[in-house]
């Protein structure tokens, strides 16, 4: 009788499961994604090979970073400079301090001095300088942006000639997958981001969507904290969220620089939550190496980003098939490999340097 009852209950449970769908997290899928991006990046050519020296012989490029006072942008600019040196064309890296006046002056200078292409690099919002972009294009200068929009969910506006975009969706998915894999599908995440920054939306949505789709029991709350208020609002927001819900086990800021305000919030609130984030910013990798709160960080070689941006720009200038997605792969840093990023960490170490040889070969330079 007991066996019969058990069988009946089991059958009932099975039927209920069949009706509602499996209520289990797809931990295996998450682990597979983690494994894929834990491997050292390999070089995949973004397009067919071409003779870069010949096509760039009479052309010059002008790069305007969001700001030079940010090591992130400085590292990308260095990638552009290195690429121009390898190919042998004139490239100017404009000095700016995150001021629209400086960006506008840069565009005007590029047009006046007859540059063939202007690249708004690393998050400089082209919308802010749309009239100047139109003017530049009317004068025959091509205008593009590197590492600003998402490659799949955001369209390049019509007022731009092109753009070399980043796969932010995959980055967001890796972050969410990590939390699922580490907790066996019991994630209670606090996701943070500054909504005013262009890549926040794809990163934020990818994290939240992946958690929802692959982990029915996982919980996630999102808080918007503008960049200028990370210190004054970010820390109290995280601290109070952890006090309100002590079961939060992951804090997922979409940009890792926020970690400096989240670590004290976690410590003061007496929480065990871990931080997982994106950007591979050196000081955050240092925090990972020296402490236990930053658990994983998705990075990308910024020198590679600069070279990939140069590649896309050269193709645009030379009339080749356009490349709108940077081929810079995401790479996972944890305690296991953080030493490879250097001590103190840098923006370029730890990723290997297959891209240098890869691009040289692609551009016909040996």
């Amino acid at each position: 009788m007991k066996t019969l009852l058990t069988t009946a209950l089991a059958a009932g449970a099975l039927a209920a499961t069949a009706l509602t769908g499996p209520a289990f997290a797809d931990v295996e899928k998450a682990k597979a994604l983690i494994e894929k991006y834990s491997k050292l990046p390999s070089f995949e050519a973004p397009g067919p090979a071409f003779d870069a020296k010949a096509c760039m012989a009479d052309k010059k490029m002008f790069v305007i970073p969001l700001t030079n006072a940010n090591p992130f942008n400085a590292a990308i600019s260095q990638g552009f400079v290195d690429a121009a040196e390898i190919v042998g064309f004139e490239l100017r890296d404009w000095e700016t301090q995150m001021d629209p006046a400086g960006w506008i002056q840069g565009i005007n200078t590029a047009v006046a001095e007859g540059y063939d292409l202007i690249d708004l690099q690393g998050g400089l919002p082209p919308e802010f300088v749309q009239p100047q972009i139109m003017e530049a294009r009317n004068a025959g200068t091509k205008v593009t942006a590197t590492h600003n929009w998402d490659a799949t969910t955001q369209a390049i506006p019509d007022f731009m000639d092109s753009a070399a975009n980043t796969d932010y969706v995959t980055v967001g998915e890796i972050i969410a997958a990590w939390a699922i894999a580490q907790t066996d599908g019991n994630v209670n995440a606090l996701v943070l981001g500054p909504d005013e920054i262009t890549p926040t939306a794809p990163l934020r949505d990818a994290i939240l969507t992946y958690l929802k789709a692959n982990c029915p029991d996982c919980k996630a709350t999102y808080i918007n904290v503008p960049v200028t208020e990370w210190a004054t609002k970010g820390q109290p927001a995280v601290q109070n969220a952890l006090l309100a819900d002590p079961t939060i086990n992951y804090v997922l800021p979409v940009y890792d620089s926020m970690a400096q305000f989240i670590v004290p919030a976690i410590q003061i609130a007496g929480s065990d939550a871990k931080i997982v984030s994106y950007n591979g910013t050196p000081f955050v990798l240092d925090m990972m190496r020296d402490g236990d709160i930053v658990e994983m960080n998705v990075g990308e070689s910024l020198g590679w980003v600069g070279m990939a941006g140069t590649d896309a720009n050269m193709r645009l200038l030379c009339g080749l098939d356009p490349v709108t997605k940077l081929n810079t792969p995401a790479y996972i840093f944890t305690d296991a490999n953080v030493e490879t990023a250097g001590n103190p960490a840098t923006f370029n170490d730890g990723y290997g340097d297959v891209h240098i040889e890869g691009f040289k070969k692609l551009w016909g330079i040996e």
Binding site: E229, A231, T232, A241, A244, S257, V263, P264, M287
Partner: protein
């Protein structure tokens, strides 16, 4: 405005002035005591504390589990230590009639100097802190030099020096954030707790008491108030106005540098820009605090309470899960309304 060159009779004149003032204050107090209990006066003094209690009760009605939990307050008190110290730094020159807009920059510079010296250059943390505090004193002296020697308005001088310091911070840090500051400092600021509250809070509390004592119970405090209320009158009475103003500016910068020590200790990290965002909350707390405890004067206990009234509101709004912009409405709107109500009670007399 030349300072009196002779000190002959100076202390006597000051002592006589203070004696007169004490007699005057005593007679006013007696007159006040003779009157029946003045509810307006009481409400003005303690209105902010009542508002604090009201905020806790109203928000507690919606979120009792969090708003009535000691742990929430312990965390909130511990994480605002540097804001209290920065606010105290502001009220010193405000009392002597000068604005110091460079305090947040000094806090940022001190924070970054500690990180650069300790992490990049291998200085012991104690030495790094002392250098940061000395740097604060030097900046205070530079502010005082330009304000007093050239007679430039303090707002302009400190706006300029603040901007200059921001450049210095970017230069010494190579525009980057530096992590890995000695854990000894982190332990000395947030990881050690007393009654559940991170110990940084008690440093802020001690400084508040010290400043309260200096302002309320010492001749120096009274001289500072004279200078702030009327420089010319103070000068004619024999107060060395320049010395008092210079001292206040230097003390302000050293205090701001100490806020930087706490800021670095809280995070174990220093970055080139985030400290600047604390200027507005500190000003808000300084002015809100001047409406309470000793209304009409910038005062340390008022500033202390004001910081925590504002952060209690923010904490409650966080618990309620309201959008980020509501916090701005609360901070900005709350400040203007609180100061306006206080003025209404005082019969719209101009604030000092």
């Amino acid at each position: 405005m030349p300072a009196p060159t002779t000190t002959e009779g100076y202390e006597e004149r000051i002592a006589a002035l203070e004696a007169k003032l004490q007699v005057l204050e005593a007679s006013v107090e007696q007159a006040e005591a003779r009157r029946s209990w003045d509810w307006k006066d009481w409400l003005e003094r303690y209105g902010l504390i009542l508002a604090w209690i009201a905020i806790i009760l109203v928000l507690g009605f919606f979120k009792p589990a969090q708003m009535f939990a000691w742990n929430s307050y312990a965390s909130m008190l511990g994480s605002n230590a540097m804001v209290v110290v920065l606010t105290l730094a502001l009220i010193i020159p405000l009392t002597t009639g000068d604005f110091d807009l460079s305090v947040a920059s000094v806090m940022g510079l001190s924070s970054m100097l500690i990180a650069v010296l300790n992490v990049k250059m291998g200085y012991p943390i104690g030495g790094a802190i002392i250098i940061a505090l000395v740097a604060g004193a030097v900046i205070g002296a530079i502010n005082a030099f330009f304000i007093l020697y050239f007679g430039v308005f303090s707002l302009i001088v400190t706006l300029g020096t603040g901007y200059f310091i921001n450049g210095l911070i970017l230069w010494v840090s190579n525009s980057g954030t530096i992590a890995g500051v000695s854990m000894d400092l982190v332990h000395a600021v947030i990881l050690t707790r007393f009654l559940g509250i991170p110990i940084g809070f008690y440093y802020a509390l001690i400084l508040t008491v010290v400043l309260w004592y200096v302002f309320q119970h010492t001749a120096l405090g009274r001289r500072m108030l004279f200078v702030g209320r009327g420089r010319e009158v103070a000068r004619l009475s024999g107060v060395n106005v320049n010395r008092v103003r210079a001292g206040a500016l230097i003390a302000s910068s050293v205090m701001a540098a100490f806020a930087g020590v706490l800021y670095t200790g809280m995070r174990g990290t220093a970055d080139p820009s985030s400290a600047l965002a604390f200027l507005l909350p500190a000003f808000a707390a300084a002015f809100l605090g001047s409406t309470a405890i000793y209304p009409g004067r910038f005062n340390a206990p008022g500033a202390f309470v004001a910081v925590f009234v504002l952060s209690t509101g923010i904490m409650g709004l966080n618990f309620l899960g309201v959008d980020s912009f509501v916090q701005n409405l609360f901070y900005g709107g709350g400040l203007v309304i609180a100061v306006a109500i206080s003025q209404l009670i005082r019969g719209r007399k101009p604030m000092a």
